[in-house]
Amino acid sequence: MSQALNTYTLRLADDLLILSHRLSEWCGHGPILEEDIALTNRALDHLGEARNLLTYAGQAIGKSEDELAYGRMERWYTNVKLVEQPNGDYAHTIVRSFLFDAYHLPLAEGLTRSTDAQLAAIAAKAVKEATYHLRHSSEWLVRFGDGTAESHQRAHAALADLWTFTGELFETDAVGDAMVKAGVAPEMAAIKAAWNNTVDTVLAQATLERPVDGFMATGGRKGLHTEHLGFILADMQHVTRAYPGASW
């Protein structure tokens, strides 16, 4: 496995692992039972995909999935900042997932045709689940946007808050370019086009206005994060740090 492929695989894994952790924070706190179950199911799907990717990336560098998840500090995590943002109210959680799902589905579809057989196999499973995820977040976004004045306002506020984190999803750099060239990763422009299409369609249905592109946050892929990631990792890693190598 090349260095670029390793970096690329870890990026895919980190987005999913951190989003999974955020969604799992809703366990036992969902607004209704069905949603509590839905979010924990989604967290489990994301975690499953992240585990496969971490295992794959780890094989090349002699590390287990656990060592990668529990042993890396903030600066070694390369997820986009969008997924580490706090849950906020339910509209925030749904909008964050919607913006990610609209990216994750075309990405997974593209990766099913990857020249890397293992990434293609992982994506082939993920694409079916991602279809359910996008449907779930889209339905709720429409319900909020086209619901009451309050739900509309909350969805609007969440979109305005989170929009600044969407630019990072489509960033390209030497690693991404090398992966596209090698046929490992799909073209980012195609994913962006699919994302735009989904976002515009669902926002129109939800009677929500698409925010205007302004300042876009960056740095996550280089390990520069918002202050929130440190707290997530503290929560996720404290047991393995307190009892290194423990098993039960």
Binding site: N41, D45, E49, E129, H136
Partner: protein, 165 residues
Amino acid sequence: MSTGPHTRDRIITILESVKDPEIPVISVRELGVLRDVGLAADGKVAVTITPTYTGCPAMDVMAADIKQALREAGITKVEVKQVLSPAWTTDWITEEGRNKLKAYGIAPPPHTADIRALKGCAPVVECPRCGSGNTAMLSAFGSTACKALWKCNDCLEPFDQFKCL
């Protein structure tokens, strides 16, 4: 086919006792999770399984149960391998498996689980209790990763549906 003391058929028969830990009426074979049984010349048994859902926490339990079932039958040299490709689909659930799901109160998944069915499908899901087709989905996410939550408008019972994948 058999080169060791055990035959492939016998191993598959033994593995019939290994059920999905979350749906204990359906075996790993009926679920389509059991993909292959290999016998090496030295008598080592290689069992290949594939996960239903990516994050299915039952996979580790199934692998452990497979090893235990074979150990109890005196087969100790066992390796359980997980493969992702080709990706599992609900179409691999056998006909008897589907009937067992239904008898257990879980509506079996609709057939033709391809991506089109996933995206657009609004299939008629029959209530596993009264057989009525007058049903509605409550949530695409149910008690486990593989199930959705439905209700019957006729007998008014809620029920699980094995999701189309």
